[in-house]
Symmetry: C5
């Protein structure tokens, strides 16, 4: 999965019918130091993520393994909201510290 | 999904029979600031997109999850036409402003 | 799909039995301006393409959606020979001009 | 598969229900010389890997071919812990030397 | 498929049970000029390839379309040993010349 930060929302009225009702979010990729890598993706939100939250994005066919995205033309899904992560002995990110 | 702008059309007479009747479009990738990233792809159009429009492209096996592309050798499909998007509090793109 | 130019052929005698009889081609990737991007791939030819021709290549599981490649360990297939393409009002490529 | 080194752990409470109970690890990619390539991924651990261990990561739909990850929105799985590897006549990595 | 050269072997004792008995090889990617591109992958060998041989590697779900790799968490497989290839009128590689 890619780590990422939700930075925006996308609205598309004309689309594949199966995509109706899904929320589309801009996600910027983060590395294990919490730095932006320069990559980004538009992902379907399957877990109620909001702008500013740090999330995990699954890509490819794995992006269709949620109830929200099953059999839909979706290649990226937010499938988890991250609470915290550690690298070595150092805590790099904790959600509470963001609030 | 990748955000992109439709910049051209491709015509191929000799092709896999299952690809007959599908419209092929050149799409340049955009980042969340609306800037071109330097990437591009040829995608099947599943939603009636036209040159100049900003669209979402699904890739890989997810590109076959539309009626137009089911079971075809297609790895990229335009599955939505974008109306507008926001990053933080800023509106980066709105379709009406393009017209 | 990736746009590409067929630049060579590959011969492999010892291989997965299911790959017998398939033609393998070197394809250099092209961008929408017809310039080489520096990328390349070895693809199975499903449409009778020859050296010098400009083609579309489907990748991943979509590369198995042709009669020639079904259920085979093939992740790239030439599934169309390109006649011409336009970007904006400009014709970038036309096959007849190559002949 | 990608070679990588486990460098950290990720905790996510709010997630797709099917992801419950899976351990998420930060993995930095290594090349055949044992050097970091600059890439990284968050992978599900299917083999009991721990921080500091060198592992193999399978990506895409192949990441779902373990009991732990079957039918889940997971696109990267640690499916082996590496004991040692050789390039040419040189042993580049051996687990015992790390301990 | 990616062209590559087998440069080493990997041993992993603790792994997904379905991976037992498979040989893991380090493969460096080559471009159509026979030059290393800087990329590399660990692939399962399905055709009896050895160090120094030039091979084709199939990736993604296509890597599971061999008897050796079916339904296993394997995303790269060596599915052919290359005898020779030509680019334009020039022979770039021939196996006999390597021996």
């Amino acid at each position: 999965m890619n780590m990422g930060k939700v930075v925006g929302t996308v609205v598309a009225t004309r689309k594949e019918p199966s995509m109706e009702g899904l929320r589309l979010m801009w996600v910027r990729h983060l590395n294990e130091q919490g730095e932006e890598t320069g990559g980004q993706v538009v992902a379907v939100d399957a877990v109620g993520a909001g702008p500013g939250e740090v999330v995990l994005v699954a890509s490819g066919s794995s992006a269709r393994q949620t109830e929200a995205t099953d059999k839909r033309p979706c290649d990226a899904v937010i499938m988890a909201i991250v609470d915290h992560w550690e690298v070595g002995d150092r805590e790099v990110y904790r959600k509470d510290q963001e609030a």
